[in-house]
Amino acid sequence: MGEQKAKKTKSVSIQGYGMFIALIAIFIVFNILTGGKNATPFNINNLVMQNGYVVILATGMLLCVLTGNIDLGVGSIVAVTGAVAAIMVVQMKIAYPVAFLVAILIGLASGMFVGFFISVLEIPPFVVTLATMLMGRGLTYTLLKAQTVGPLPDNYVYYAAGFVPSVKIPFGDGHLDLVSIGVAVVATLAIIFSEMHSRRTMKKYGFAVPAFFKSVIKVVLISGIIWFFFFKLAQLNGIPVVLIIMFIIVVIYHFVTEKTVAGRQIYALGGNAKAARLSGINTKKVFFWVYTNMGVLSAVAGIILSARNAAATPKAGEGFEMDAIASCYIGGAAAAGGIGTIVGAVVGAFIMGILNNGMSLMGLSTDIQKVVKGLVLLGAVTFDVLSKKKK
C-alpha cells in the first residue's frame, strides 16, 4: 500500500465535532430569537439545574442503548425513589443521608430485578421495562396516596438547588465568584495538558498525529465554551452542586465506556452478541449490570428531581425515559446497538435542554415544544443515517 506510507498527520473529521457545532448553533439561534435572554447568568444557571437529571439518566441509558435496547422504566423509578426519600424525610423524620441511601438501594434492587428478567430469563428488555414503568408509577401513586409530599428541608434541597461555597468580588455592576473562575482556569490548563500529553503518546508510538493548528483550534473551542459557561455562573451564585454531581458521573461513565474492558464488552455485545459470546464475554452478566446500573442512576436522578422540586409528586419523572432515549439518539447512538458515546449522549441531553429552555423563553406552549423536539430527534437521526450511507 504505497499511498499510506509514513502518513504522520491525521485528519480530524468534522463528524466528531458535529454535535458540539449543532449545540452551539442551536444556542446562538435561540439567543437571537429570545433577544439574548437565554444567555443571561440566571438562565445559564437554570439550564444546568433543569437538565441535571436528564444528563444523569442519559449516561445510564446510553449503556442500554449500546446493547441495542432501551429502558422504559426510568421515569417511574425516578418517581418511586424520589417518593421514598421524601416520605422518609418529611413524614418519618429520618435523616436525609439515610433516606438517600435507601432510595439508592431501591434503585439498585429495581435494576437487579430488571436485569434478572433480561439476563437469566431472557425476556425482551422492552417488555420487562414496560412492566417496571407501569409498576413503578403505580407504586408511586400508592406510596404518596396520590398527594404531593413536601416541603423538603433545606439540607435535602441543597443537592439540587444549592451552590458550592463562593468567594465573591465586585465586578462591573454586579459581582464575580472567584471559585468559578478558578475552576475555569484549572479546566483550561487540564485541557491543554491532556492534549499535549496525547500528542506526545501518539508520537512516542509512531501513530499519526493531527496537525498542530487543529489541536489549537480544538483546545480554543472547548476552553471557549468552558469560559463562557463559568463566567456566566460566576456572575450569579457560582457553581451549582448539581453540576458537580453531573460532572463526576459523566467522567466516570466516559472512562468506563472508553477505557475499560467492561465498557468494551458492552460495545461488543451491542455490535454482535453471538460473536461476543464466542469470544468469551459473559453476555448475560453484561446485560445484568447494564440494567442494574440504570436502576442506580435512576435513583440518583430521583433524589435530585425531588430536591429540585422540594417535594415528591406522583407525576414526577413522567416521560423522562423518552428524553433520555432521545438524548442518546440525538447524540449519535445507533438504535441497533454497538455505536454511541457518553459525551454524545450528554451533548444530546443539552441540545434537548436548550431547545426546551429557549422555547419556554419565547413563550411557546409545551405542546408545541413537544412537536419541535420530535422533529429535532427525527431530523438528527435522519441526518446521521443519511450521512453514513453516503460514506
Partner: protein, 519 residues
C-alpha cells in the same frame, strides 16, 4: 446472432472513483449454462447487479442487450418482468411463512385485486414445486423447518413462478452439502432441458466444470476470457489460471524440513458425548475420542451434518448441546471447561464456520475485533484497556497475515470475505491458544486468500500450536492435514495418516460407517 439471449457491452461501473467494472463484455447464449468465475472482488456480483437492475440504468456506462433490445432497468422489478431472476447467496425467504406463501412472495396469486386466493396459492405452488423436484413437499409448513438444500430449491421454484427465462444463481451451493449440491446441479441441467438459460457464480470449480457450457472469467473488473466447453480445456487448473492470472502450481503451501516437527499430545478428548440442545434423547456426538499434538494439523473430515461443528462447539465451553459427558485433557491434565472463558483460559480457540454471525462485530473496526478475545488477558491492566498496545499488536498482525485494508481503523464489515477471515484468525492468534479449532476456515473465499490462510496455518503449526481443521472440502483436508479423523453421524468413522489421505479413503470410511450404522 439470434442465439444470443443476453449481451452486456462495455459495462463500466465506478464506486467513488474506483472502477469495479472496467469495459466488461459478457455474452450468454440462449439455453446454455454460463458460469461466471473470478476471485472475490473481481466484479462478478457487481456485473449481476447491473444486469438485474440493482444498479439502475444511468449509474453505469455501456449497454445491456437482452433478447435483441437495449434494456434500461431502474429496479429489480423491471428485470423480473422480462424474465431475469437473480437468486442471491443469502436466501430471501421469510422463515415463518409457509412454503406456498414463499413461492409466491411478491407475486401473490390473487382472487381479486389485493385479495389473496389461498386455493390458487396452494395448488399453483404444488405445480411449481414439482418442476424443481419437490412434488411431495407439504406447502403449508413454515420454511424454517426445511433444510438449507430444500430452501434453495424453493428459491428456484419462486423464480420459476415468475416465468423465468434467465436464471442467475449466486453461489447456490455454498451452504449445501455434497448430496444437496449434486441434486441442485442436476436440477440446473434439467432446467436447461426445459429451455431456461442460467448464469452461475461459484467458487466450487469442480461443479462449474461439470455443469457449465461456457465460462467467462473476470479479473480486477475486466473480462479476461470466455471458455467454451466444446473447444477449450475446462479443468480446474485452467480456470484458476484465468482467475489469478498465473499458474498456481500448488494450492497448498508445503511444510518440510525444520518446520515440520510434531511434538507431545496437547489436547486429548475421551469418550465425548453430547445430546441435542432441544431434544434430550437425541445423541449428536457419540463417544468420540481424539487427540492433537503440538505442531500437528489434524483434519475433521466428513459430510455436512456429520456433527463436526457440534463437536467443536461442545468442546469450546459447552456452547452446543446438553448432557455433555467425557473428559478433556490439556497437556496431560484433565480440565473442566464450562464456558467460553474457561476454554480461552485453557488455551483453546475456535473460529466459527459463519464468521459474520459468530466471529466478528461487523460495525466495529479491525483493531477492536482483533483484540476482542484477548482483551482482559493481554490488553488490559486492572480492567483498563491498554489502547496503545492494542494498536501496535493490531498493526503487527495486520502485516503478519496480510490483511488488505487501508488501516486498522477500517470497519470489518467493509472488508472482503478473505480479509474478514484473516481478522478472525488474528483475533484468536492474539489470544495465544495452544489449540486452534478452525471450522471451515476458507469457506467462500477466493483462491489467493485461501493460500494465505493455509500459510498462516502452517506458521502456527511451526510455532508448536496444535491445529484442528474442520472442512467439507476433501482436497483441503488432504492438502493441509498431517492426520485426519473421518466423522460420520457423530462418530469417529476412521483415522487416516497423511500417506493414506485420499478422497477415496475418506469416503470409504464414511460408507463403511454408514453400513455399520444400518446394520
Amino acid at each position: 446472432m439470434s442465439d444470443i439471449i443476453l449481451e452486456m457491452q462495455h459495462i463500466t461501473k465506478e464506486f467513488s472513483g474506483v472502477k469495479a467494472l472496467d469495459d466488461v463484455t459478457f455474452k450468454v447464449k440462449r439455453g446454455e449454462i454460463h458460469a461466471l468465475c473470478g476471485e472475490n472482488g473481481a466484479g462478478k456480483s457487481t456485473l449481476m447487479n447491473v444486469l438485474s437492475g440493482v444498479w439502475p440504468y444511468g449509474t453505469y456506462s455501456g449497454d445491456v442487450i437482452y433478447k435483441g433490445e437495449v434494456c434500461k432497468f431502474h429496479k429489480i422489478k423491471d428485470s423480473e418482468e422480462k424474465g431475469i431472476v437473480i437468486i442471491h447467496q443469502e436466501l430471501a425467504l421469510s422463515p415463518y411463512l409457509s412454503v406456498a406463501e414463499n413461492v409466491f412472495m411478491g407475486n401473490e396469486q390473487k382472487a381479486a385485486k389485493g385479495v389473496i386466493s389461498w386455493t390458487k396459492t396452494r395448488t399453483n405452488a404444488k405445480a411449481v414445486l414439482a418442476r424443481v423436484g419437490l412434488e411431495d413437499e407439504d406447502v403449508n409448513i413454515p420454511v424454517f423447518k426445511l433444510g438449507v438444500g430444500k430452501q434453495q430449491l424453493i428459491e428456484i421454484a419462486k423464480a420459476m413462478a415468475k416465468d423465468v427465462e434467465l436464471l442467475i444463481l449466486d453461489e447456490p451451493t455454498a451452504a449445501l452439502n455434497d448430496e444437496e449440491s449434486a441434486k441442485l446441479l442436476e436440477l440446473m441441467l434439467e432446467l436447461k432441458k426445459q429451455g431456461i438459460t442460467s448464469i452461475i457464480i461459484s467458487h466450487k470449480l469442480n461443479e462449474i466444470s461439470y455443469v457449465a457450457d461456457s465460462i467467462t472469467i473476470i479479473r480486477d473488473g475486466k473480462t479476461i476470457e470466455t471458455l467454451d466447453k466444446e473447444k477449450d480445456d475446462f479443468s480446474e487448473e485452467r480456470i484458476i489460471k484465468g482467475m489469478v492470472g498465473r499458474e498456481l502450481t500448488n494450492r497448498y503451501p508445503l511444510r518440510e524440513g525444520d518446520d515440520y516437527k510434531i511434538g507431545e499430545k496437547i489436547m486429548e478428548v475421551e469418550d465425548w458425548s453430547v445430546y441435542h440442545p432441544e431434544d434430550a434423547d437425541r445423541q449428536i456426538i457419540k463417544n468420540v475420542s481424539f487427540n492433537v499434538r503440538a505442531g500437528e494439523v489434524v483434519g475433521f473430515a466428513g459430510l455436512m451434518g456429520a456433527g463436526r461443528t457440534e463437536l467443536a462447539m461442545s468442546l469450546f465451553g459447552k456452547e452446543y448441546g446438553q448432557k455433555i459427558t467425557g473428559t478433556i485433557k490439556m497437556h496431560g491434565k484433565e480440565v473442566k471447561i464450562n464456558n467460553v472463558k474457561d476454554a480461552i483460559e485453557h488455551k483453546i480457540a475456535y473460529t466459527s464456520e459463519d464468521r459474520k454471525t459468530y466471529g466478528l462485530v461487523l460495525i466495529d473496526d479491525i483493531k477492536h475485533n482483533m483484540s476482542m478475545a484477548a482483551l482482559r488477558r493481554y490488553f488490559s491492566n486492572h480492567g483498563i484497556v491498554d489502547k496503545n498496545k492494542e494498536i501496535l499488536k493490531a498493526e503487527e498482525y495486520k502485516k503478519l497475515i496480510n490483511v488488505k485494508a487501508n488501516s486498522i481503523n477500517q470497519e470489518v464489515g467493509s472488508l472482503s470475505g478473505g480479509n474478514q477471515q484473516k481478522v478472525v484468525l488474528a483475533k484468536w492468534m492474539l489470544a495465544q491458544p495452544d489449540v486452534l479449532i478452525l471450522d471451515e476456515p476458507t469457506r467462500g473465499i477466493d483462491v489467493g486468500a485461501k493460500y494465505e490462510i493455509y500459510t498462516a496455518i502452517n506458521e502456527l503449526a511451526k510455532a508448536g500450536k496444535a491445529i484442528i481443521v474442520i472442512s467439507s472440502e476433501l482436497p483441503e483436508i488432504i492438502g493441509t492435514c498431517d492426520r485426519a479423523y473421518v466423522i460420520n453421524e457423530g462418530r469417529i468413522a476412521g483415522e487416516l495418516y497423511k500417506e493414506d489421505l485420499s478422497q477415496e479413503r475418506i469416503m470409504g470410511c464414511v460408507m463403511a460407517d454408514n453400513r455399520k450404522g444400518d446394520a
